[in-house]
């Protein structure tokens, strides 16, 4: 076996491979030793990064997206005869309200989305900037999240997240409560990506 064949056939420098050639060839033995020390260094780098992971806000957004994605499926699984009737009645009601608003225009009230104890999803179709409206609702834009289009429909989903997620958006949390869970409303854009969050309990 020549040097080239030795290096081509060596599966892993860390493993006990066929090192017969290395025993005969001083240059390859020396280089093999350097490769092994390099691999040890790489293992140290890997060990140092072992606890590095995505920030908590990614999990928050994904759980919200998961719930948003699952909700229509659950609805479709249990159809009831009164659902279409109720939908038509609601649509008719919306049309009547819209017609009355056109006849008697007035100043629009700020939208409030009061979430119930279960997961809540609300479609907001205001033509105002969603984040501007969020100022009233204590929604905090998520870091690196793109802004919502003024006419974009949003969904609000309630999730339970570690209190450490509050740190991600700049809220203070006392060290002994970091691992506690806290309820939060997450605002999702049309693409299902989380844009803003509101914590129901912001106490430290």
């Amino acid at each position: 076996m020549n040097c080239q064949e030795f290096w081509d056939s060596l599966p892993e420098v860390g493993a006990n491979a066929d090192v017969q050639h290395a025993a005969e060839c001083e240059a390859c033995a020396s280089l093999l030793n350097r490769h092994r020390r390099l691999v040890d260094g790489l293992k140290t780098v890997a060990a140092e990064l072992r606890h590095t992971g995505a920030p908590a806000r990614v999990e928050v957004g994904l759980v919200a997206a998961f719930r948003s994605h699952q909700r229509p499926v659950r609805r479709a699984a249990r159809p009831h005869w009164w659902v279409p009737a109720l939908s038509w009645a609601a649509a008719a009601g919306v049309l009547i309200v819209a017609a009355l608003s056109l006849l008697h225009p007035h100043q629009p009230l700020p939208a409030h989305r009061n979430a119930s104890s279960t997961v809540e999803m609300a479609a907001v179709t205001d033509s105002t900037d969603a984040y501007a409206a969020d100022g009233d609702d204590d929604f905090i834009p998520l870091p690196n999240a793109s802004r919502l289009d003024p006419n974009e429909d949003v969904n609000v989903v309630r999730v339970e997240v570690p209190r450490s997620a509050m740190l991600e958006v700049g809220l203070a949390v006392s060290a002994d409560r970091v691992s506690e869970m806290v309820e939060a409303d997450v605002m999702l854009g049309q693409d299902g990506v989380a844009r803003a969050i509101r914590f129901l309990d912001e106490s430290m």
């Binding site: 240059a27 390099l38 140290t44 590095t52 957004g61």
Partner: protein, 204 residues
Amino acid sequence: MNVKPPETDDELFVLLRGGDEAAFVALYRKRQASIYRFAMHVSGSASVAEDVAQEVFMALLRDGCGFDPDRGTLSGYLYGIARKLLLRQMERGRGDVPLETESEEKVLPGLAVTDNALDDLTHREGIEALRRAIGTLPRRYREVVVLCDLEEVDYADAAGVLGCPIGTVRSRLHRARALLLEKLNQDRQPRPSVSTLKPIRCFI
């Protein structure tokens, strides 16, 4: 009777596709860190890594997510999506210049590397230098070092992620390690001092 909770990726995948949120969260917590680190090492950016981690797991929620257990592991599938997203990101940013002229199959071991650089790998500074050196590798070598050496993905899975034969993974890894040794050695070469520089001409 105690029922063993599902632990394998495939079991969690089946459950999450059936709408089990706990399975989705469990899979995310099990796999997010390695995907995030892979993206961070390859892109060199924490914000890109965060976006990639989010998009990778969003892909699992989509109807035609395309994962087939017969074709590979879920972990490999997630890395594959991450890599595609990163390549797309790099295409947009054009931040990487591939070394297309180098042969992949022939790896010549003849590099003049001193032991001093490797001695440093037992110190904090040496490990930092190694991390920097990984970041300066051409992308094709960087991703194989991150997958195989830092994240300990086996060669077969890495080949699936990178879309190349196992032999190519092996040769790229050898080449990557040789380049790392070279870079570490270059870092240790003393810079020429000002007194040794010869002024040539001044036009001002």
